[in-house]
């Protein structure tokens, strides 16, 4: 009896492991076909020794799946853009996080890309910041771009001299303001939910920017500012890790079923749209704002009212060109939208696309708001108080870059955790 049980348990365990291993393979293998042809069948060592003459090879490490309809996909598309513009070659690895690739570290995986010929490596996540520093120090001959980080910001809090590393980030604060504006105009209940990832400087300032945009447009539309509710719920990471983070689908559902009729995604993918789509099909009037990737609304156009997105191509192009022609300099770049056309793929690092679910009238109001921002409207102007009521910006005082980047709390009027408890 006991033996049988042990045998059964053994069999079940093995089967479980096999299934666990099989499942993701099946999912991710399908779309593989469309990506570029596999590298020449020669052993990798050969490739390293003799890269195709003059062709620049860059590596890209993405924290999530390359087709996540969000943060990582925006980077992947930028990589394709670089291949096209520069005739360069991209080598990439996605799902670079300890949950998906147990036992590995990003700096180790970056070395795998270098072994395949990469002369420059892009680390695409805040989660890889420490690893990018480690890697940059260990490989001074390899160029490194750390997206969203601030290590080489001379005015930053964590400045380090890393000559081969560049920080690149878009001023998404503007994009989030537009997202907040669209949300406030669309909401009938005056309750906006913000699906927050983890809590840090970046996420605090972006959630707060969304709030500033929402409040501005809410008031412009003639509503009572006191009637606007804006709540942030943090899930604990950039995307769902079962058993580790809160489930963003569940969080979205909680928002939608408690009167928050618009949810803005602040995480790496727009799962809120899926939930909105489901509830909308059941007759509820709910909407969502996507994030990160220009075509993210396509996932659920009937409930998507817009998407603020990153366009990494232009700044990456400049950085790689500088690496090629020898003018590279370690610097911190926080790129603003191209106000003459925020959706210009060749010039604007941050853009916003109105979603199909945004009404014509509201779309016009959002466009007018974008024009105001382009004209110099700065919502990071006092009086602004922090969530606990302390004054942050005096009346008329315009926030410095440091004050925005390192925002210590959420703002007064926002609900949700400001700092870890």
């Amino acid at each position: 009896m006991r033996k049988n049980f042990a045998r059964l348990a053994m069999f079940a365990l093995v089967l479980m492991l096999v299934l666990a291993a099989c499942a993701p393979a099946a999912v991710t293998e399908a779309p593989v076909v469309e990506t570029d042809a596999p590298v020449a069948t020669d052993a990798p060592a050969v490739v390293t020794e003799a890269p195709v003459a003059e062709q620049f090879v860059f590596g890209l490490l993405m924290v999530g799946p390359y087709n996540d309809n969000g943060w990582s996909q925006a980077h992947y598309e930028a990589g394709l853009y670089l291949e096209e513009k520069l005739g360069a070659k991209m080598i990439y690895l996605d799902k670079v996080n300890p949950a998906d690739r147990p036992g590995t570290t990003p700096d180790q995986l970056a070395e795998e890309l270098v072994a395949q010929g990469a002369q420059l490596v892009i680390f695409n996540s805040d989660d890889m910041k420490d690893a990018s520093t480690t890697f940059a120090k260990a490989h001074p001959e390899t160029y490194v771009i750390m997206a969203s980080g601030d290590q080489v910001w001379t005015d930053g809090k964590t400045y380090e001299e890393l000559p081969n590393l560049m920080n690149i980030m878009g001023r998404m604060e503007y994009g989030k303001m537009m997202a907040g504006c669209a949300a406030a105009l669309t909401s009938e209940t005056g309750k906006i939910g913000y699906l927050g990832p983890l809590l840090n400087d970046e996420t605090r300032r972006l959630a707060s920017s969304a709030y500033l945009g929402a409040r501005y447009c809410w008031e412009q539309a003639g509503n009572d500012p006191a009637a606007l509710e804006f709540k942030v719920t943090w899930i604990g990471f950039w995307f769902n890790i079962p058993g580790v983070t809160l489930d963003p689908v569940q969080v979205s559902n909680d928002f939608y079923t408690t009167g928050y009729d618009v949810v803005i995604s602040g995480i790496d993918n727009p799962v809120n749209l899926g939930e909105a789509q489901k509830l909308s099909a059941e007759g509820n009037k709910v909407f969502g704002v996507a994030y990160d990737y220009v075509a993210a609304c396509d996932a659920a156009p009937e409930v998507c009212i817009g998407v603020p997105y990153f366009n990494w191509g232009p700044e990456y192009l400049k950085a790689i060109t500088s690496a090629q022609d020898g003018s590279w300099s370690s610097q911190f770049i926080w790129a603003a939208p191209d106000w003459s056309d925020i959706n210009n793929i060749d010039t604007s690092s941050v853009g916003f696309v109105n979603g199909p679910a945004l009404s014509t009238e509201d779309a016009a109001a959002v466009d007018a708001f974008v024009a105001e921002l382009a004209g110099g409207l700065d919502l990071w102007t006092g009086p602004i108080n922090l969530q606990d009521g302390t004054a942050y910006l005096a009346d008329g005082e315009v926030a410095t870059d440091q004050q925005v980047w390192y925002l210590p709390q959420l703002l007064e009027g926002m609900e949700g955790l400001s700092a870890p408890e």
Binding site: A6, A9, M10, F11, L13, V14, L15, L17, V18, A20, A21, C22, P24, A25, T28, E29, V32, V33, T35, P38, V39, T41, A43, P44, A45, I91, Y92, L93, D94, P98, A99, R101, P102, G103, T104, T105, Q108, L109, E111, E112, L113, A115, Q116, D126, D127, D130, L198, L199, N200, D201, W234, G236, F237, I241, V244, P408, L417, A419, P420, E421
Partner: protein
Amino acid sequence: MLKGRLGGFIFQFLAFVLALGFVSVILISAGASPMEAYKNMLTGSVGSMRKFAEVLVSFVPLLLVTAGLLITFSAGLWNIGVEGQIVLGAIISVWVFRLFVDSTLPPALIITLAILGGMIGGALWASLAGALKTFGGVNEIFGGLGLNFVSTALTLYLIFGPWKREGVASMSGTAPFPDHFSLPQVPELRISLWALGIALVGIVIVYFILQGTYFGLKLKAVGKNFRAAYLLGIPTWRYSMYSFLICGALAGVAGAVQVAGVYHRLIPSISSGYGYLGLMVAMLINYQAIWAIPVALFFAALNIGSIQLPIVMKLDSSLAGVLQGVLVLFVLLMEGIRQKFLKKA
């Protein structure tokens, strides 16, 4: 032909071929060349010194865990809780590092304390599963699984709560320790010879216990026939507890090495699944310590080599896990078939 060592070997070889064939079918159905995939995995694991060093980084905890599991398996125990024992080893070692983060004591001493702390942490956590089994009558599989969940919850609580990074609440992990808290590594490579030494010492001790001591003999007696061992005067419950303690200590060291040698901080998946992988290795080698090194090395090589699959062939690297699982499955299956034939013969 079926009997004896040769027969066993032939059947195992057959199982290996079948497993490779099975995975090849999966690869072909995904439109990829199996030969190319295997070649990439091979060059990706032993193609350069650096890659082989990465294999060793993965080999160290896997070997330690396997060594520990050989002890509990010998005592007839299914220590599924080994995963949590790794985690607790990691947690305690992080705790020790945190205690001494501003201390002027020599780093070598602090690292030693952290590893010893990990050892104790793993052993104590294992003793919980052992106590549940011997005093509470809770099957060690269920007790272990439950404790695994508790250890994960504890990790998440520490990362998100008391040990969070300043101003940050993220499941990403705690702040990394200063460089001098790392196990010294071979220049240009990520492997620490100290870590490798610890793992080898671990398996040698286990081999010695099982092959050359009365203690080992009694453990095996308990494992082979609990009741008979009891009647012959072996304090069976005590031997069960000893085996849990030894296995937990080794798993705890594995966790401490993950902290001091690989991640330098606490992350949610600090165990990297080496506990479950170690169970597979132990099953595959039919609980014979002598085979632990080559098979653990092979599994580690599959883990590291498979990183090439997404980079070079745009395939998912979980293929390594499929191969590992299928291999164990076929080996067990072939063994079952052999036993059937033997009975008939």
